[in-house]
């Protein structure tokens, strides 16, 4: 398990992490969700023993990230946000290299990476630099796994990758969890949060909330409706001027609305919009999604 107690880190005047407390259970798929600059990478670098915290402590399976850094580096697999394999080595050479650095071989741990690596094997002689984004990501994951780590730390593995590869990647993570490994993964994308057992929402170096995705969704405190009309831009602007409006936010082709109180008077809103000459007004009661909850927590 991962135990983080009161970790803080500043860069000059900027406080990147502000007294973080968090624990991740054995064999959990734990998500760290937050925008760029919220502190996700800084926290991961501390957990990987690549950066010293200013204060606080962190234990990975009971090993201290500062004192036992040698042990830490053997028990974790780390996939940094930027592609960090050797572009001028082939797929197979990269994997061999990482296996041998850890004193093991591809053969010994093939079972663990088989499902991922078999999609790469047709390209095993291709240089890593010439792979597509989705294939680079699979190779990086294979290299992070080849020494059979106890804990896998993945920093924004799906950023810049197309929707199909993203889906495949999350399917691979479920496969890794089945092998008994603990995973901590970060992402700026809210829709990936629901694929984790638990998530922490991070903003400006703090954790706003830690819970299961369902519990975070269930905690949304108000009624919520989705609206549409022929001119969406005007709809948003007018709804924001409605006296009872609290939150009026675009969600693709809809606007999600919640009022100052818990309940929503749909008829009053419809009349207000009709008076403003909106056409094709549609109003539907919906249940909040994870993004509604995050937006509400962040506001």
């Amino acid at each position: 398990m991962i135990l983080i107690e009161n970790i803080s880190k500043s860069f000059g005047k900027r406080l990147a992490l502000d007294s973080i407390d968090l624990s991740v259970k054995d064999n959990e798929l734990f998500g760290l969700i937050g925008p760029d600059g919220s502190g996700k990478t800084t926290l991961f670098r501390i957990l990987c023993s690549l950066l010293l915290p200013d204060s606080g402590k962190a234990l990975l399976n009971n090993h201290d990230v500062v004192k036992d850094y040698n042990k830490i580096r053997r028990i974790i697999g780390y996939m940094p946000g930027r592609f960090s394999l050797y572009n001028d080595l082939s797929v197979e050479e990269n994997l061999n290299f990482f296996a041998r650095v850890f004193g093991t071989s591809i053969k010994k741990n093939y079972g663990l990476i088989k499902d991922i690596y078999k999609r790469l094997e047709p390209f095993k002689d291709r240089r890593a630099g010439n792979l597509s984004g989705g294939m680079k990501q699979k190779l990086a994951l294979s290299c992070a796994l080849i020494h059979r780590p106890e804990i896998l730390i993945l920093d924004e593995p799906t950023t810049g990758v197309d929707a199909v590869s993203r889906k495949e990647f999350w399917e691979m993570l479920s496969g890794i969890i089945e092998q008994g490994i603990t995973i901590m993964v970060s992402t700026p994308y809210m829709d990936e949060a629901v694929l984790c057992n638990r998530v922490a929402l991070m903003q400006e170096g703090r954790l706003l909330r830690v819970d299961s995705p369902q519990a975070i969704i269930d905690a949304y405190p108000k009624d919520i409706i989705a609206l549409r009309a022929d001119d969406m831009y005007r709809l948003v602007m007018d709804l924001r001027d409605f006296p009872q409006a609290d939150s009026v936010l675009l969600f693709g082709q809809e606007v999600h609305y919640s009022g100052k109180g818990k309940n929503i008077d749909r008829d009053a809103i419809r009349k207000y919009l009709e008076d403003k000459e909106h056409k094709d007004i549609q109003i539907n009661t919906i249940s909040a999604g994870i993004e509604d909850s995050f937006l509400q927590l962040m506001a």
């Binding site: 937050g34 925008p35 760029d36 600059g37 919220s38 597509s132 984004g133 989705g134 950023t159 810049g160 990758v161 197309d162 929707a163 199909v164 590869s165 993203r166 889906k167 700026p188 994308y189 809210m190 829709d191 903003q203 001119d231 969406m232 831009y233 005007r234 948003v236 936010l249 675009l250 969600f251 693709g252 082709q253 993004e291 995050f294 937006l295 962040m298 506001a299």
Partner: protein, 242 residues
């Protein structure tokens, strides 16, 4: 809002690199004031198509016009009629806000007193008068994004190309940005968006989805969802591209 005036017209557009056909007989129109999403997996041919529409690459065959200019013969006029913004390629971190605006304005051919006035106007509209001399590196991501967008519009283009515009920003900032996009579109600017993030695609008026060099779907997000019996565009995309 949308009109029937075409600002991009593409017919049979094809580009080959040796034996490889990167884009294969594309046909589509984009209208004035429309927010048009251009989707496809890595390697589907999006970048090739966009380079042609931005006047940076010659097609092998077919026709295309952008803001009324031909992409074979009038590439310089095409470039002057479009704006471009991407998450990766945008502002110079070690220049100030004012310096960035002056620099990009200069690239787009604005000069002297006119450029100075335009720069100050833009800073006033952004509400960042006090930050005129602040380095871009010291600004929060949400500001950078709005600044980059404003700079892409400094020469009053007819079309703006947004390449994964909101990746990595928080959901509040992202929505403020889409408010801005809806605002400029409502004034008649055409917005051409490429993205890997399907929740971003849901904001577009119409979407095209490319696969192996061809456009395999083109419609409003709603109609695509019902056609593919999918709950969201992500599902539509996975059904098409897998």
């Amino acid at each position: 809002m949308n009109s029937k005036e075409k600002v991009i017209e593409v017919r049979g557009l094809t580009k080959k690199f040796g034996n490889f056909t990167a884009i294969d007989r594309l046909d589509f129109d984009v209208f004035k004031g429309e927010i048009f999403g251009f989707l496809g997996a890595n390697g589907a041919g999006k970048t090739t198509a966009i380079k042609i529409l931005c006047g940076l690459l010659h097609p092998s065959s077919g026709k295309a016009s952008v803001a009324g200019y031909d992409v074979y013969k009038q590439t310089e006029s095409v470039k002057r009629s479009i704006g471009y913004m991407s998450q990766r390629f945008s502002l110079y971190e070690d220049l100030s806000l004012y310096e960035n605006i002056r620099f990009y304005g200069g690239i787009y051919g604005l000069r002297g007193k006119f450029l100075k006035e335009r720069s100050n106007d833009m800073i006033a509209r952004l509400g960042l008068e006090k930050e005129k001399k602040t380095l871009i590196a010291d600004m929060p991501p949400g500001w950078k994004q709005k600044i980059a967008f404003s700079i892409a519009l400094i020469h009053e283009p007819k079309i703006v190309f947004l390449d994964e515009p909101t990746g990595g920003v928080d959901p509040i900032t992202r929505r403020q940005f889409w408010d801005l996009i809806y605002e400029v579109a409502s004034k008649g600017l055409t917005v051409f968006v490429t993205t890997h993030y399907m929740d971003e695609a849901e904001y577009c008026n119409r979407l095209s989805i490319m696969d192996e060099g061809k456009i395999v779907a083109l419609d409003s997000p709603d109609r695509l969802k019902s056609e593919y019996s999918a709950k969201d565009i992500n599902e539509v995309f996975v059904k098409i591209a897998r």
